[in-house]
Symmetry: C2
DNA sequence: GTTATTGCAAACCATTTGCAAGTGT
DNA sequence: ACACTTGCAAATGGTTTGCAATAAC
């Protein structure tokens, strides 16, 4: 069985709900899956506004589509580095968690099977039916934590 | 060295910032530490409004105080079961994480040292200076997942 | 043709903020 | 006295929604 492409998965999802794959939704999903990186609603709104097709998609429609994409299992919210939620692909990508830099806002992904296993065990012990988890580690990334770098380092050589 | 009470810890914190322990802040911290349970800003607002002393504390002041209590290390945000953030005591309580029931909104605490250890290791590997973490497990708790209980079970015995 | 979807602008909701009056040290 | 804090009401900012026009099936 070949894996469905995101858009086909979405089409399938919409069909089971009696909803429609509109031009706007196609544009949105195309932008969302153009690259595998984290994004927030606002960023997506500007990306679909400057869309090559010249067609604009309203903010409201983007928000409505994001909700559907989450429901469909194509996206998931993973963090809120600066207040607003950040999404990432949740279709065809392995489970992972994030280190969140409080200075630059960067998300660093990591995977760890042991954590997942422990979470499973804890759920079992509590008769808790897990649907997912989110592990966010806060702190400062290596880059931001580097010693105050000499500015204009090249000048030292002059 | 005896542990400071929350209010003493707060007083100390305020002093180092050149800020004051006002009546309003005292009322708030008393309410916050009256019992060890999760709460959100809105709940706290109503609790300090129906305060026994008859004195009201405004919503703005509660929000300002919550921010200070977090800064002081007395409170931490732990989850957002229904959108709004939930606080809990973070002074004198051991590190733990939560199972979050999507039906009843309950938070079930659990502790696991292995998870903390793994998180430490991952941070080290990434030269990430950790300040804290938050592990939220989503799903349905045992209570909500129970088979639709016969209503009025006692009637069976009649 | 019927029903879902869009864009707009207004509504929402939690949280934050400016400011004048009040309070802690 | 002085600087910090309060309450109020208005502002904010991200997200949602009612509705008439429009598009998918």
């Amino acid at each position: 069985m070949g894996e469905l492409s995101p858009i086909d998965k979405f089409r399938e999802f919409l069909q089971t709900k009696g909803e429609r794959l509109t031009r706007e939704r196609s544009i949105i999903i195309e932008e969302v899956f153009a690259e595998h990186e984290h994004f927030d609603a606002d960023t997506l709104v500007s990306r679909v506004s400057s869309n090559k097709s010249g067609r604009r998609v309203s903010r409201a429609t983007v928000y409505r589509a994001l909700k559907l994409l989450e429901e469909a299992g194509l996206l998931r919210k993973v963090a809120r580095p600066n207040g607003s939620e950040v999404y990432e692909h949740d279709y065809g990508y392995p489970q992972h968690d994030h280190l969140i830099c409080s200075k630059c806002g960067d998300l660093i992904e990591f995977t760890n099977e042991v954590i997942s296993a422990i979470v499973e065990k804890i759920c079992a012990e509590n008769s808790f039916i897990k649907s997912g988890h989110r592990l966010e580690v806060y702190g400062v990334c290596a880059k931001c934590n580097a010693p105050p770098q000499r500015r204009h380092r090249k000048l030292d050589l002059v």
